[in-house]
Amino acid sequence: MNNQYLLKRLVTMGIVLFGVSLLTYVMIFVTPGDPARTILTQQMGGQTPSQEAVEQFRVSEGLDDPFTVQYVRWMSDVLQGDLGYSYYSDQPVTDAIAQRLPNTITLAVASGIVAIAISVPAGIASAVNPGSRIDYTAQFGALVGVSMPNFWLGYLLIIVCSLWLDVFPVAGVGGLEHLVLPAVTLGSGMAAIISRLVRTAMLDVLDAAYIRTARSKGLREQIVIYKHALQNALVPVVTIIGLQLSYVLNGAVVVEVVFQRPGLGTLLVDAIFARDYPIVQGVTLLIGVIFVLTNFAVDLTYNQLDPRIDLGGELM
């Protein structure tokens, strides 16, 4: 890795993020519904606002400016760290996000841990004994995991673990006990996909000549598998884990609603229903940034996992 590579990547990331921001803004702009009218109706407690008031609101909020003007104004604010104010609570969007983000990050990390803790051993066990009972069980489990919708699994876990067994709290945030069910709900779907990938990648690698070499050296099978084979199988797995982040953020929307967790997901859903555009824009942009940064981080690990992967930037 070198600075040239980093620079190249940063430039590309800038372009991608610009695209994300533009798309976010366009989508909100073309969405049917007049925010001025909606907000005023709300503020006046359901009464239809006068045309004059609507016009006035548009001017004061800059809603009558051409698209480019609005976008540039928004973007220059964003670059200064100002995502605007919620239409309803007058709370700065950055504050609203800052309140919710930690909960979502905790959920994402916890479900990632659950996913990896289930999928990697399961995938390896499958690959080491292909066609065995363990393999079929793991593959069946993966199929169930993939097919089961998050909201359904979430409610199922609430019924079984919270209502019947009374082991975990039904909803809310708090200590670790509040995190277990949402993390399992979100993590199991991810685990299903990752375990299948680990299985395929490991099957591929276990046939390689260097695995035979490792065995012929007299290495214990455990070391052959967890050291020599696993690290070679990790590149595609890490890629998928990185991409699965989008799944976590999507899933978080559903899971946070099911478990009543205040997070980015619930914030986004509420804002969409209320047409609170500054919040929607802010959250969407943030998710885009997180996604781009994660993929960047994943790319940086490639070279660590497999030194043959040259991160480019200059000719060898």
Binding site: G218, I223, H228, L305
Partner: protein, 363 residues
């Protein structure tokens, strides 16, 4: 006779496939003694590599059906997994064909050699976290010693600047250097038997000569027994003391190299010699073998070579071919032997001397 280092007797290794059972090794017998290089010669698909892997018990997904592999007093066909693991690498080392593939691409070469050193340390259990290099669990001083030993081994293999290459990755090595590194791994434990499966096939001629020279000096200086698997007559002739010609998983002919390769008695050996480019005079059309090795599905009740043999009779296709001993060293499995000398013409006789080899052609 009983003190041979390796004695493979009536070995059968089969692969159960969807199309039926493939008998890759079909009753092969041969021996390797200390301080000798035995070549296993044959075309692709003749069962050479499976034979090699069976000896290390790395035959999976194949299965050893029958036979014994006596190594230094232990029958490897019945040995327990832990015994096998101790023998593997410790007393029997393997070098495989393509050094591009046989070194793990994601670990430094030095670490892979050091690993081999640590495996063979007396009274050290292989702990996963230690080998994974997890901080706190890694035995730093043992690994430092192992790395020193790795530098020594690399130096013995004439890998230039071993200290600085310790942390280099396999893809940063040339083909010849990689194969030397593989040899360093194989020699980390001072093995009694080295099984080299086409060790030079993927290398250019100069590097090939270098690696073969190293094998010969291992035999001479450390008294290592070497089983050299090759499809290359030249390699076998240059390097080996004795040769086993394999076809369809069966031993066609076996004996001292200077007998078998200068006065072959089996039609298959003769055919291989005729095809050798090195044995052709300039301008002469190089012979090629007609047909390809038959897919050995179902065990042979006949000579596996019969379909391609120009001497084959009905008897060859109908019954099991017994092995006849020409003398105590030289044996072959052919009903028609001794063959008329029709296809061993004079110019082939002298051309049989391998290039650069040590054998003289006065025989």
């Amino acid at each position: 006779m009983t003190d041979k280092l390796l004695r493979v007797e009536e070995l059968y290794t089969r692969f159960d496939t969807d199309r039926g059972t493939v008998h890759a090794v079909d009753g092969a017998s041969f021996t390797v003694d200390r301080g000798e290089i035995v070549g296993v010669l044959g075309e692709s698909g003749s069962g050479k590599s499976v034979t090699a892997r069976s000896i290390c018990r790395l035959e999976e997904p194949g299965k050893i059906g029958n036979g014994t592999i006596m190594f230094d007093g232990t029958d490897l066909t019945t040995a327990s997994k832990s015994t096998l693991r101790q023998i593997r690498g410790n007393e029997i080392s393997m070098v495989f064909q393509d050094p591009t593939e046989t070194l793990n691409p994601v670990f430094p070469v030095g670490e892979q050699i050091a690993e081999a050193v640590r495996i063979h340390e007396a009274n050290s259990r292989q702990r996963l976290l230690d080998f994974l290099g997890v901080p706190l669990f890694r035995d730093q001083s043992a690994w430092a010693d192992a790395r020193d030993r790795a530098v020594e081994l690399m130096d013995q293999m004439d890998i230039p600047n071993p200290e600085s290459r310790l942390s280099a990755f396999p893809h940063e090595f040339s083909g010849g250097l990689r194969q030397r590194a593989v040899l360093a791994i194989a020699l980390a434990s001072d093995p009694k038997l080295l099984i080299a499966d086409e060790p030079t096939t993927a290398l250019d001629t100069t590097t090939q000569a270098d690696i073969l020279q190293r094998l010969r000096s291992l035999r001479d200086e450390r008294d290592v027994g070497i089983l050299l698997i090759s499809h290359d007559l030249g390699v076998v002739a240059q390097t080996c003391d004795r040769v086993v010609v394999l076809y369809g998983g069966q031993v066609m002919e076996a004996g001292p190299v200077n007998e078998v390769l200068t006065a072959p008695e089996h039609p298959y050996t003769r055919m291989l010699l005729e095809c050798s480019v090195r044995n052709s005079t300039p301008g002469e059309r190089v012979q090629s073998v007609s047909g390809t090795p038959s897919d050995p599905i179902g065990s042979y009740e006949a000579c596996p070579f019969a379909d391609r043999c120009r001497h084959a009779t009905t008897a060859c296709r109908e019954r099991y071919i017994p092995t006849t001993e020409l003398d105590s060293e030289h044996r072959l499995a052919c009903l028609e032997a001794p063959l008329p000398a029709d296809d061993a013409s004079a110019h082939r006789q002298d051309a049989l001397t391998p290039d650069g080899g040590k054998q003289d052609d006065s025989t």
